[in-house]
């Protein structure tokens, strides 16, 4: 049992890395849900598409022999990816959700699943056409590694290693989260977004163009989701068209955990789920005496989702609302 404790620093580092990804993807779910009360099932696929777009851009830069400092390349690709996936998000909303605003709730969920499938296959086509395989391994911009000397803080801890990539990933996600928080809480359009989320009809009476605000929401959510996709590809090197689905589901879990519609909650939920999951993967076998292995880490995430939805559907930070009769 003692190695659970000694390995804790590494678990924490890995968990926070995964958690940061969950958190940013969860923001996309939570923003859309907040405004339309719709689970944007396709959001995981937008993340995946972002991973491919980013990796594709990086590979083609290499092909054209364009050589820039790594950090400029990174920022350039992040911006391009965000722009493209943001537009993709707007397109998805126009095509699959806007015509269904007044339909029963089941119907947009169905078109969302449809969009998910379409994206998975389209990305697979393109990947297979270009590289001959739908599993793609990209080049890594930053190769470095560090050791964080946890053992010098508490003797029984082992040191944790952390990649340069990971530091960049965590850094950028923190920047994204802070910027989004400022945007939503401090700016005119951010306030308009919250107003539309609370009462679309009344917001339109304030001369707020509701459709525009909804498009903006999809743009932002998808842009940061797609950009995170590229960071994910950099972190874990290999991507395939099916990474978005389960990751999306977990990010959604994170959003629910933090109280869906609640942006700060989603950030917290993501980090918490990431750490819990990595902890479970590393220690489930030890904790259950070998009965459950790390294969059950996904079960663990779903179990959290189900438990939260059943016992505290408003999330850890949400307030429950009563249906109006």
């Amino acid at each position: 049992m003692s190695h659970i404790f000694t390995a804790l620093p590494q678990v924490l580092v890995d968990g926070l890395t995964l958690g940061a990804i969950y958190a940013v993807v969860a923001l996309g779910y939570t923003m859309v849900y907040g405004i339309l009360e719709l689970i944007n099932f396709a959001h995981g696929e937008v993340f995946m598409t972002g991973a491919f777009i980013g990796t594709g851009l990086l590979l083609s830069l290499g092909m054209f022999g364009i050589d820039m400092p790594a950090w400029i390349t990174l920022i350039l690709i992040l911006i391009m990816t965000a722009l493209l996936t943001g537009l993709l998000g707007i397109g998805i909303e126009r095509l699959a959700y806007r015509p269904l605003r007044k339909a029963p709730k089941l119907i947009p969920l169905i078109s969302a699943i449809g969009i998910s499938f379409i994206l998975q296959d389209l990305v697979r086509f393109v990947a297979e056409m270009k590289t001959g395989n739908y599993i793609v391994t990209g080049t890594t911009l930053f190769e470095g590694k560090f050791t964080i000397p946890f053992s010098s803080i508490i003797g029984s801890f082992q040191n944790a290693t952390i990649k340069t990539n990971t530091i960049i990933l965590i850094g950028i996600t923190i920047v994204i989260m802070i910027l989004l928080d400022i945007f939503v809480n401090r700016t005119k359009w951010g306030t308009a977004m919250r107003a539309v989320a609370q009462d679309q009809e009344t917001a339109s009476l304030m001369s707020i163009n509701v459709n525009k605000v909804i498009s903006l929401t999809f743009f932002i959510g998808s842009a940061i989701g797609g950009a995170t996709g590229f960071l994910f590809a950099q972190q874990y090197a290999t991507i395939d068209p099916y990474i978005g689905f389960i990751l999306g589901l977990k990010a959604f879990t994170a959003a629910v955990l933090g109280g869906i519609g609640n942006i700060r909650g989603a950030m917290f939920g993501g980090l918490m789920l990431g750490v819990l999951e990595v902890f479970a993967a590393a220690n489930l076998s030890t904790l259950t005496g070998g009965v459950l292995g790390s294969e059950y880490k996904d079960v663990f995430a779903f179990a959290i989702l189900i438990l939260v939805l059943i016992f505290k559907p408003e999330g850890l930070f949400g307030k429950s609302v009563k249906e109006k009769v």
């Binding site: 306030t191 308009a192 919250r194 609370q198 009476l205 304030m206 001369s207 707020i208």
Partner: protein, 237 residues
């Protein structure tokens, strides 16, 4: 008839699902008037206001300041200067009072304009100023109604559409609200008022329309309507 019609509806009809909510409604509101629309629950009072600001689809023409606004969506009619204070106040409960007011001024570009309107709102509603950083949902019904009217004033509107401002409020508060409506009017604001409380509405209005099952059945000066036997029997007894 030298007065200029600010808002004019002619032959406006509207449907909710398959049910006809408005039937050939024609009415006009002149600059500087308080016009009230009285009628029973479900007669089409709120629908008339919704038709004006574009929340429901209509046939017929609605013109405002000479523009045809009958096909415009709500955010565009709002930009032209129609401010609608909806039934049930509908303030944004999770936004602060200040944010609520800022949303009202969404179309104003300059900070100076916004601040100027804020000052104006504080003048009418000193209570609102005291609660600027409180969440809208935590205020009492009367305060919310004041905020809703204040929010509408933020857009520098040319006309104020008020839908049941007295709904669910204590008589004393209703009294205050009606006083403020009159005050607003005296400083030049044109007001179209929808009220269930017909007596009170008619006592501050210049003219009134009586609406029944989506049709206008009577129009006259407010004074005459107050004395009209048919009206007294149906809506005042």
């Amino acid at each position: 008839m030298t007065k200029r019609a600010l808002l004019e509806m002619s032959q406006v009809s509207a449907y909710y699902d398959q049910i006809q909510a408005l039937q050939d409604i024609s009415l006009e509101v002149n600059m500087g008037e308080i016009v009230t629309l009285v009628g029973s629950n479900g007669a089409g009072k709120s629908s008339t206001l919704k038709a004006i600001c574009g929340q429901i689809k209509t046939s017929g023409t609605i013109s405002f300041l000479g523009n045809d606004i009958s096909k415009l969506p709500p955010h565009q009619t709002a930009k032209l200067g129609v401010a609608h204070v909806p039934e049930g106040r509908r303030i944004f409960p999770k936004l602060t009072v200040k944010e609520n007011l800022e949303m009202g001024a969404f179309q104003l570009k300059s900070k100076k304009d916004i601040e100027q309107q804020m000052e104006l709102v504080y003048q009418y509603f000193p209570r609102v100023k005291e609660r600027l950083h409180q969440k809208g949902g935590t205020m009492s019904g009367g305060e919310q109604q004041m905020l809703a009217i204040g929010r509408a004033l933020m857009s520098k509107p040319s006309i104020l559409l008020l839908d049941e401002p007295s709904m669910g409020l204590a008589p004393i508060i209703v009294e205050q609200i009606f006083e403020i409506i009159q005050e607003l009017n005296q400083t030049g604001m044109t007001i179209l008022l929808v009220e269930q409380n017909a007596y009170q509405a008619l006592s501050i209005a210049h003219r009134g329309y009586v609406i029944q099952t989506g049709k206008i059945i009577l129009t006259d000066s407010a004074q005459n309507l107050l004395e009209n036997k048919q009206v007294t029997e149906a809506y005042l007894a």
